[in-house]
């Protein structure tokens, strides 16, 4: 999965800002993001990302959040209290730590909990693991905006 393919999808969606904290699955996109038209907003902790995105949305911008599943777990009350309670049309791009599709045993329990937690929050999610599946980014983004409800893409490509 190439960074350019991911960023092209975000460009087609009209995304303005990427609020992010690097992770193993998406860290390889950093240089491409820096060179892109998007404004990068790096955060110190993932829970900040939803709040910054909420402020951006109130101000008329079109952000996405790019973090790892572990950071999503840490961000629980920002997801609940802001993404869900404010009905944010926000795409959460989640690095899928330990994605089982890579054919390797996961190093920890992160992969076991990701999808059930998103399901519990009622956040629809789509697997993105190759250039051929990057169109799901636009699909999830549009769904978030049509429904005024967050949606997620699970980024399964790990850089190693």
């Amino acid at each position: 999965m190439q960074a350019a393919t991911v960023l092209d999808e975000l460009g087609r969606c009209g995304v303005t800002h990427i609020v992010w904290l690097p992770d193993s699955e998406t860290g390889y996109m950093y240089e491409a993001m820096r060179a892109s038209q998007f404004t990068l907003v790096p955060v110190c902790r993932e829970g900040e990302s939803m709040a910054i995105a909420a402020g951006l949305i109130m101000g008329g911008k079109r952000p996405v959040v790019l973090i790892q599943s572990t950071g999503l777990f840490e961000s629980g009350d920002s997801v609940r209290g802001l993404c869900l309670d404010l009905q944010l049309p926000l795409l959460l791009m989640i690095g899928y730590r330990g994605y089982p599709g890579r054919g390797r045993p996961p190093a920890d329990s992160a992969a076991r909990f990701l999808e059930p937690i998103l399901d519990a929050w009622g956040i629809p999610h789509y697997m993105v693991e190759s250039d051929a599946t990057c169109h799901r980014i636009s699909q999830a983004y549009q769904q978030a905006h049509v429904t005024s409800h967050p949606a997620a893409t699970l980024m399964g490509m790990e850089y190693d």
């Binding site: 902790r45 829970g47 900040e48 910054i52 402020g55 109130m58 101000g59 008329g60 209290g81 404010l86």
Partner: protein, 196 residues
């Protein structure tokens, strides 16, 4: 309650200084400030409480400030909330929003749960933290008169700026009416900003 420190005995007096200086700023409120600000607010239609996210008012204010550099944003944060989101000082300092004033209502207590002391009570120096994070301006006040004297120069100065208000803890108290719920305020201000 007296804790042997210099502090503003009537916290509303400090907020009144800010309220008198306010023109068209959008004010983002955290826990205790959303209790004390509504009776003083001159522009309630431009106030929004950020609750239920473990101290994210400062992060929300940053997002709004980045989205709309043409408007001024004040975050009326609290010490308990900022302790939950200390990394936001670094995130804000790096983003350098020229339109963000960050105020911390420092009562060293969790008033909304009954006034229990925070882990930072008597220890933490928010001005030192902010300066260390990269805020160009960070000042603390324990007298409203001193804030009144300096506020115009702070508002005209470099940003982001941190203003710490050393105020008394009033403990748990009834919520004052008049502030719109977060979702309603969010939708209303978003729609307003889309037209202006």
């Amino acid at each position: 309650m007296s804790r042997g420190r210099r502090e503003i005995a009537e916290p509303a007096a400090a907020l009144q200084v800010l309220s008198r200086a306010r023109t068209d700023e959008i004010v983002v409120l955290s826990e205790s400030t959303r209790q004390d600000w509504p009776p003083l607010s001159t522009r309630p239609e431009r106030d929004i409480p950020i609750t239920g996210s473990m101290g994210k008012a400062s992060s929300f204010g940053l997002g709004l400030a980045l989205a709309r550099p043409d408007i001024r944003v004040w975050v009326l944060d609290t010490d308990g909330a900022l302790l939950m989101n200390l990394g936001s000082l670094v995130t804000i300092a790096r983003a350098k929003p020229a339109n963000l004033l960050h105020v911390v209502y420092d009562n060293e207590a969790y008033d909304t749960t009954g006034g229990q002391p925070t882990p930072g009570a008597g220890i933490v120096d928010f001005c030192a933290l902010a300066r260390g994070a990269g805020y160009p301006v960070a000042r603390a006040y324990d007298q409203p008169e001193d804030l009144e004297r300096d506020l115009a120069s702070i508002l005209a100065g470099p940003r982001p700026a941190l203003v710490v208000l050393k105020v008394a803890s009033l403990g748990r108290r009834p919520m004052v009416g008049g502030m719109r719920p977060m979702r309603e305020a969010f939708a209303s201000i978003r729609d307003y900003l889309a037209r202006h």
